[in-house]
Subunit: 216 residues, 2 copies
Amino acid sequence: MPKPNSLRKTAATRDSEATKCQILDAAMIEFAVGGLAAARTESIAAKTGVTKAMIYYYFNSKEELYRAVMQRCFNEDLQLVKQLNLDQLTPPQALVTVISNMYQKMCKRPQMASILALESIQNSGKYYPQQTAEILFDQLIGLLERGIDSGDFRPLESRHTAINIVGSCAFYFIARENLQHMWPGQDLLCPEMIDRQSKEATKMILAGVLASDKSV
Amino acid sequence: MPKPNSLRKTAATRDSEATKCQILDAAMIEFAVGGLAAARTESIAAKTGVTKAMIYYYFNSKEELYRAVMQRCFNEDLQLVKQLNLDQLTPPQALVTVISNMYQKMCKRPQMASILALESIQNSGKYYPQQTAEILFDQLIGLLERGIDSGDFRPLESRHTAINIVGSCAFYFIARENLQHMWPGQDLLCPEMIDRQSKEATKMILAGVLASDKSV
DNA sequence: CCAATAATTAACTTACTTGTTAGTTATCTT
DNA sequence: AAGATAACTAACAAGTAAGTTAATTATTGG
């Protein structure tokens, strides 16, 4: 009487796609803590149901595995962003949407912010899939400029402002473990906390960006 | 005719304090790229005029060296912050001062933001000198609450807002290498750029935080 | 059900990294 | 100026980590 499909690697043996995915998931967690340089292949393997050799079987090297993780991160991201159809919204609405979307994404993949930050710090972003990071930022910058032109936003410097907006969001996730002490016992990743942080950020950013004669 | 005091380690031989300082400086640069885990003692030594053995002679281990670097970072920081005398300023003035001070500090030690971010991501902040990070955050939170009480600021959630403020500042330095592409050829650490970023952040944050019936 | 192939492992090799040690050179004291 | 001590180095030992290999086990198609 063999169990056909237990949770762990017990059954469902030998499914290459599942194994690749397991490795990618484990790698994402490991890379999100140490980045490419400090990640240990042994440690990644330990998080999966398979041996280290499988990493090399499917991904050839730690570096290529890292590339694959990055790729997957950004693909998901781009997919989501394209579905937003920001052009059909007013600039303030679009901005609110972008911010809310950022938090949702981070909430779904809490490792995201750390991985991107680590890649930037450790490797100057050279492993980012070509221009993908640019696309995401440019979208926000474009939206800000549209809002300035329409008079919804005050005349601000779009690039610097975009940095401030993304930064305020990313920081919550990057410094999560340190911010913990402000809310003892609370899980900073629980939906309620994320929601409060998101709302507070949205309010501040919107008020900071809107032309003084406008309001939402 | 021996040179008495050339720039490198040529002359001025055997000055223990200078050597310790050289090691700390080199370590700071190395730790700011990879964090404790990815930093190589060999690589730190290579940045100094002395051998790796000196690291162990003066600091015993990579970990203790890391602790020393952290300590020095925070000591400087606390010193500066205490001199601000925020209590003698109105809340909006105090906030402007805090923001401007953050940028100045980061400008002086561009590795700072990366080191703190890496420590948080890699080690959950366990190497921060006891409570020092808390003090810095609490100061900002206290100031925000004072502003809410006085009616200068709108009723916001001080902790979340503090995170947004610090985040928008830190991100510029953390993601510096990636943001580079927005200003091709420009040095993001040059005083003019920092000044523009700082001004833009100040404007946005202040507008985002001030009660709607107030202005600076 | 058997052969071919794909997935997987355990054990190993090679390169790197931390930390040590024994010995060397400069500086300071008397 | 000699002896003591502090600063320093080169070479090494021990442990760790990346990547490989040869053999093993499951799956699939005829």
